[in-house]
């Protein structure tokens, strides 16, 4: 079965499903019983939901900026490593080989992986996101191989 066929079958599962029995009497009973205490929790949860929303928005913004500020080509001759793309925004001990030339690519790949994982949480059935994540991981491994030749 190909990825697309798996994807198509998973998509078919999203459709409405008719319950095998009438569920409304049970729901109505529980709604009536829980009517009084049910009023308060939404108000208490509102600040938490807002805080979570703001945090998620800020995180998405930071990641988006990190991806947009992708490294640009620069000649390396006589270059001060401090001005290479990504240097200062990612700890050098997290860069393959500690090589400042790979800091920009490390930042781009790590940000991409974080975004893909966040997307997968929202759309866990997306097989193609797993494929992109795997291929991005392979790019990270390739960077590690290049970094192993540094020093």
């Amino acid at each position: 079965m190909t990825d697309f066929e798996i994807q198509r079958r998973l998509r078919d599962l999203r459709g409405p499903v008719e319950p095998s029995r009438d569920l409304w009497p049970g729901i109505a009973t529980r709604l009536t019983a829980a009517a009084a205490p049910a009023v308060a929790p939404p108000r208490r949860r509102l600040p938490l939901a807002l805080a979570a929303g703001v945090t998620l928005t800020a995180l998405a913004g930071v990641l988006a900026i990190a991806l947009q500020r992708q490294p640009v080509e620069r000649p390396l001759a006589g270059t001060d490593p401090a001005i290479l793309p990504g240097v200062g925004r990612v700890p050098l001990d997290q860069v393959p080989g500690g090589d400042p030339r790979l800091a920009g690519a490390t930042l781009v790949i790590d940000s991409a992986q974080a975004q893909l994982e966040a997307a997968l949480e929202q759309q866990p059935e997306a097989v193609f996101l797993v494929g992109l994540l795997n291929r991005t991981h392979a790019q990270r491994m390739k960077l590690e191989r290049i970094g192993a030749q540094a020093g």
Partner: protein, 305 residues
């Protein structure tokens, strides 16, 4: 010069090394010629500076340019069916050594090679320019140098971390991989494969058989005629995708996005009744070719050519 080259080929494997010069000396000129087969494999490596390759109708390789300060030398090995041209890093330094890179001057390598020679080029920050190659295979691997290919090699494997990649011709198979470098392709056919993390992919060609493109946040734009039984698979997380389909094409088309938008000149876009998501399933003509596009938040635009 030609006599010397023939002598080298007759004596079998040859090894020539431009000796090391004192650090900070002036760039040393390079001028060598080696006889090779018409379809020889030629390996070239440089660290920084440039590699320029042009073709000619002679069974020999001419190497010219200047060797950058600090390099241990230029090694030229072999001849006949396999030639290696390698810029050596400074003493006691690895090929990708940051210390070596910062202590070296730029080396300019200019090569004239047989038209049908197979090329394998490896650089760190050096730019690579290949013009006119029609060999069986061309492979270029770079860290930050820009790559430009103009010619008609049979198979092309191009890879860069952050350098941009420009391709103007590849006959049968093209495989391009990049982290953040942008990819621009004009006139490539056969099987096309592209993969970037944040780099954009821009392809315009006359006809292709299969295409596979994936990116996390780069944009993807594809223009060209798909073979009647061709296959296209495009995947993107947040990058936008634009695909042109010929008006007389015969395509089974599926496009799907979780939170992006779909705009299409073919079929009707459907929104999910329950939860997010938009999709498009339609057949153009008999639908012999297959096109599949999936994004998470990137927009999808499918237009008629």
């Amino acid at each position: 010069m030609r006599t010397a080259a023939l002598a080298l080929s007759l004596t079998g494997a040859a090894l020539l090394t431009v000796p090391a010069a004192p650090a900070l000396a002036a760039a040393r000129p390079i001028d060598q010629t080696v006889a090779v087969d018409a379809d020889a494999r030629i390996d070239v490596s440089n660290i920084k500076g440039s590699v320029s390759v042009v073709v000619w109708d002679r069974d020999e390789v001419a190497i010219s340019g200047t060797l950058g300060d600090g390099s241990k030398g230029l090694t030229v090995e072999g001849g006949g069916s396999h030639l290696t041209v390698r810029v050596e890093p400074p003493e006691k330094s690895g090929w990708f050594s940051w210390g070596a890179d910062s202590r070296m001057g730029e080396t300019t390598l200019r090569l004239s090679v047989p038209r049908r020679a197979e090329l394998e080029i490896e650089v760190v920050s050096a730019s690579v320019d290949v013009d006119g190659s029609a060999g069986r295979r061309l492979s270029v691997e770079s860290v930050s140098g820009a790559l430009r290919l103009a010619g008609q090699p049979g198979e092309c494997d191009l890879s860069s971390v952050s350098g941009r990649i420009e391709v103007g011709g590849c006959r049968e198979r093209l495989d391009v991989e990049s982290v953040s470098g942008n990819v621009r392709v004009r006139d490539a056919g056969g099987a096309l494969e592209f993969e970037t993390v944040s780099g954009d992919i821009d392809v315009e060609t006359t006809r292709y058989r299969t295409l596979s493109a994936g990116t996390v946040s780069g944009t993807i734009a594809i223009r060209g005629e798909l073979d009647p039984d061709g296959r296209v698979e495009i995947e993107s997380m947040s990058g936008d995708v634009a695909l042109q389909i010929g008006a007389d094409a015969s395509v089974d088309l599926h496009a799907e996005t979780f939170s992006g938008r779909i705009r299409s000149d073919f079929g009707t876009v459907r929104s999910e009744d329950h939860g997010p998501g938009r999709s498009l399933d339609t057949k153009i003509g008999s639908g012999a070719a297959r096109v599949r596009i999936e994004t998470f938040s990137g927009g999808i635009a499918i237009t008629r050519r």
